[in-house]
């Protein structure tokens, strides 16, 4: 009994960790621009596929591959912002979101051209026996995924709560005019937020690929799940995204395990709807806060 339960729990935590990272990625751009960047899922795919390219195809050492992958993703984020977001002055929010969808289609097209439609995989970061807890098996890579997610969360939490740059980013979304007037280079902050969110997404992709494989069109699914995670916890709250991500991951794996795999998305969505209907701003965002922000 317990063994099976734990097994589902661990697999839920693994997927949930990636959802959480995607959710945080959404929050980073949202907190700096109020834009929901729906190409967020593609960043994860880029992470997985580029990591395969550097480590398997080019046979570069592990850490070098990781570094190159992160840099690549950062550059993609940078180009995306400079080419599509920055040129638009006083944009309409809905339009911006549609543009991110259009960009995600472009990225998918590029990924398909370069990698084809096959799934890719590479070995776990460390070799070694899986850990067993009460009979439930945890792959070492699972521990990596959870550990890396935790690390990212702590770093980002520190960045947004404790550093002036983090606060300045938030200020940019709240009121770009006022942000400029206190001397913040808003355009630069927006750029940094896109680069940062791309990197966070790519890290998720690097970590998860050995477990769940990666293919060119996985982006939209990840984006939707991550978006749900961010909304569930309350948009803009990283704690919320983490909780939402893990909750969705665990609900999915429990439903798939105990009820029926076809319903795994439904249960998570129903919980999401219930949360929204009873707490319209998500778990961690207060009503006052929602009123103080425009979106």
């Amino acid at each position: 009994m317990l063994t099976v339960f734990l097994q589902f729990l661990f697999s839920g935590l693994t997927v949930g960790a990636v959802y959480a990272l995607v959710g945080i990625g959404f929050n980073i751009t949202y907190n700096a621009t109020s834009i929901i960047n729906l190409a967020q899922g593609e960043f994860v795919v880029i992470g997985g596929l580029m990591m395969w390219f550097f480590s398997e195809s080019l046979k570069l050492p592990f850490l070098v591959s990781v570094a190159f992958t992160i840099v690549t993703a950062g550059i993609v984020g940078l180009f995306m912002e400079r080419l599509t977001i920055k040129p638009l002055k006083n944009p309409d929010l809905l339009l911006m979101i549609m543009i991110t969808i259009a960009v995600s289609i472009v990225l998918r097209g590029l990924l398909m051209l370069s990698f084809g439609k096959n799934p890719y995989v590479y070995p776990s970061f460390t070799e070694g026996e899986p850990v067993s807890i009460y009979g439930a098996i945890i792959q070492q890579q699972t521990l990596w995924v959870i550990g890396i997610t935790g690390f990212c969360i702590i770093v980002l939490f520190f960045f947004f709560k404790k550093t002036i740059t983090g606060k300045a980013m938030l200020a940019c979304a709240v009121n770009p005019t006022a942000a400029q007037l206190v001397g913040i280079n808003v355009s630069k902050m927006v750029m940094v937020s896109f680069v940062l969110s791309a990197i966070v997404g790519a890290i998720g992709g690097i970590a998860i690929t050995p477990i769940s494989l990666m293919e060119y069109d996985k982006g939209p699914m990840l984006a939707v799940k991550g978006f749900c995670a961010a909304i569930m916890g309350g948009l803009g709250s990283n704690r919320g995204a983490v909780l939402g991500g893990f909750l969705i991951g665990i609900l999915e794996s429990m439903t798939a395990g105990y009820i029926h795999s076809g319903l795994k998305d439904a249960v998570a969505l129903i919980i999401l709807l219930l949360i929204l209907f009873f707490k319209p701003a998500g778990i961690f965002v207060s009503k006052t806060m929602l009123q103080l922000r425009k979106f």
Partner: protein
Amino acid sequence: MLILKNVDIFYGKIHAIKRVSLHVNKGEIVTLIGSNGAGKTTLLRTISGLIRSTNGSLVFDNLDISKQSPDTIVKKGISHVPEGRLVFKPLNVEDNLLLGSFNWYSFKNRSEIKNDVEMIYSIFPILKKRKKQLAGTLSGGEQQMLAIGRALMARPKLLLLDEPSMGLAPIVIKEIFKYIVELRNTFGLTVLLIEQNARSALRIAHTGYVLETGRIILQGPAEDLLLNKDVQRAYLGRDVDYEI
């Protein structure tokens, strides 16, 4: 300190500011009065770099600022307290103040920044009481003080104030004007002030300019403007006759 020469600004096709020239000398309080839509706010936003002028020159401390970005202009020493205060509502009071020091914020400056924050708290003690409160939950007067405090955190040489008295109770308006004078007297701050409340503005100012439909139509020592019949009729209302 700040010299505008023949500045033209277009908003799309609208010629919002027409050949405006203006001087702000160091240590002065200069006020710009005029009716709504005359272009006062536009002019201020141009000085702080939010809007680009089409023609003319804007020189601050012997430096051409007409092509500079807003964040560079803040670094050069101009701080702008915008109309409607525009505090960062979802952030708390202290974070709002800290962000004011963004242009010179660094780890090694942190003790100095802390001192500055304390100094702002000593000017506006109410802000200290509210320091952990979200800025959006403050009253109008408190938000105005926070906006001024945030601008001062940038350590400006020139402070641009856009309608600081708007929507405030009479007693608070008096207080805000008192603060403006105090800032000028104790810190030698130069102030360019836009006001609907023309009488109060002219009372504390040294020089005044009157802007109508994008043009400067009158200028001179504030005292003279207070006595000027046209100004009295248009901007000061009836009470001025017996008051002076």
